[in-house]
């Protein structure tokens, strides 16, 4: 094979690799995009969130749609709608034992949500996302 033929072969090979790389990156970006959409829109595991709420007796003081000692989850979701820090704020509220204000004006520590295994933030996050989705 003479040098001109070799160069032409190499050039075709490089072009093919570049095309494949571009296509592969495109697929990767599309997959990442889909993963992002699904994580922000469809990731809430409703049954797991409800199970954690029941286990922690959240529903003794809260309800999805009516106020009890604590506000209805629908009201919480409305309050935090569109706020960028909503998730962080609610996670802080249910895991730090900070004071919560009650309808009669008194304040007391909010129960700290417990998970099994302990301090599993993915479960807490799922619960908060479910509350915000009401």
């Amino acid at each position: 094979m003479d040098p001109i033929q070799i160069n032409s072969h190499n050039a075709r090979s490089i072009k093919l690799k570049a095309t494949l790389t571009r296509k592969f990156s495109g697929i990767l970006m599309l997959a990442a995009g889909l993963a992002l959409i699904s994580s922000s829109t469809f990731a809430v595991d409703e049954e797991a969130a409800k199970a954690l709420a029941r286990q922690n007796k959240c529903l003794n003081c809260h309800s999805v749609d009516k106020d009890k000692d604590g506000p209805a989850y629908k009201k919480v979701a409305e309050k935090y709608k569109g706020k960028a820090n909503a998730e962080t704020r609610l996670i802080e509220h249910i895991t730090s034992g900070e004071k919560a204000k009650f309808p009669d004006g008194h304040e007391e520590e909010h129960k700290i949500v417990k998970t099994v295994p302990a301090k599993d933030m993915a479960q807490v996050k799922n619960l908060v996302q479910w509350i915000l989705a009401q």
Binding site: E47, K50, R54, K57, N60, D69, K114, V116, P117, A118
Partner: protein, 199 residues
């Protein structure tokens, strides 16, 4: 030649038991009877107590791998004051008569063990609601007798207990509520089918 009466083995034993002792004094018979009774009673109660321990309860993998593993993450296992409530503290009444009745009923659970009805995690989860419901009903019927060995409304301090919790407890006391009405699943996972009343 005279005919000897033919009696069965049970008949002969009964006759021997009814016959007065010709060889031993009444004092000896009573003393031996008393100490035999003591040994029997002591042995019976020791055996009963041996089955009334956490170690005995988790002797089978069905309990050890499921409810015991869950309980280890709860306040009844580990807490600030170091008081631990073990399986029989919550599931077996303390007084002798009710304890014996509970034990007799629990012996039927051996059947479950033999047939392997909760031998795997999947089988246990499938039956969890049924098993939990039995226990909730038993606790409700006994006015949560085991809970009340340690907890009671009268000993709750409105100064120390959180205000909302105290309010709920006093409201429950007023309307004749019992612990298990609100405190289901405090030491074990709630069944997946379980729903709160107002859900």
């Amino acid at each position: 030649m005279t005919d000897t009466p033919k009696t069965s083995a049970i008949g002969r034993l009964w006759a021997a038991l009814r016959a007065p002792s010709l060889k031993y004094s009444l004092l000896l018979v009573l003393t031996v009877g008393f100490f035999s009774g003591l040994i029997f009673w002591g042995g019976f109660n020791t055996a009963l107590e041996a089955t009334n321990s956490l170690e005995f309860c988790i002797g089978c993998h069905e309990m050890r791998d499921n409810v015991y593993a869950e309980y280890k993450d709860t306040i009844h296992y580990s807490n600030r004051t170091g008081v631990r409530a073990t399986c029989p503290d919550c599931h077996v009444p303390k007084d002798w008569t009710h304890k014996l009745i509970r034990k007799a009923k629990a012996s039927f659970e051996v059947w479950g063990k033999l047939t392997g009805s909760i031998a795997t995690k999947e089988k246990f989860e499938a039956k969890r609601m049924e098993l939990a419901t039995h226990e909730w009903e038993r606790m409700k019927a006994t006015n949560s007798i085991e809970c009340r060995n340690c907890h009671n409304f009268e000993a709750m301090s409105g100064e120390i207990q959180k205000q909302t919790v105290y309010k709920k407890h006093m409201a429950a006391k007023e309307k004749g509520g019992t612990c298990i009405d609100c405190h289901k699943g405090i030491a074990h996972k709630l069944p997946k089918e379980y729903k709160e009343d107002d859900e």
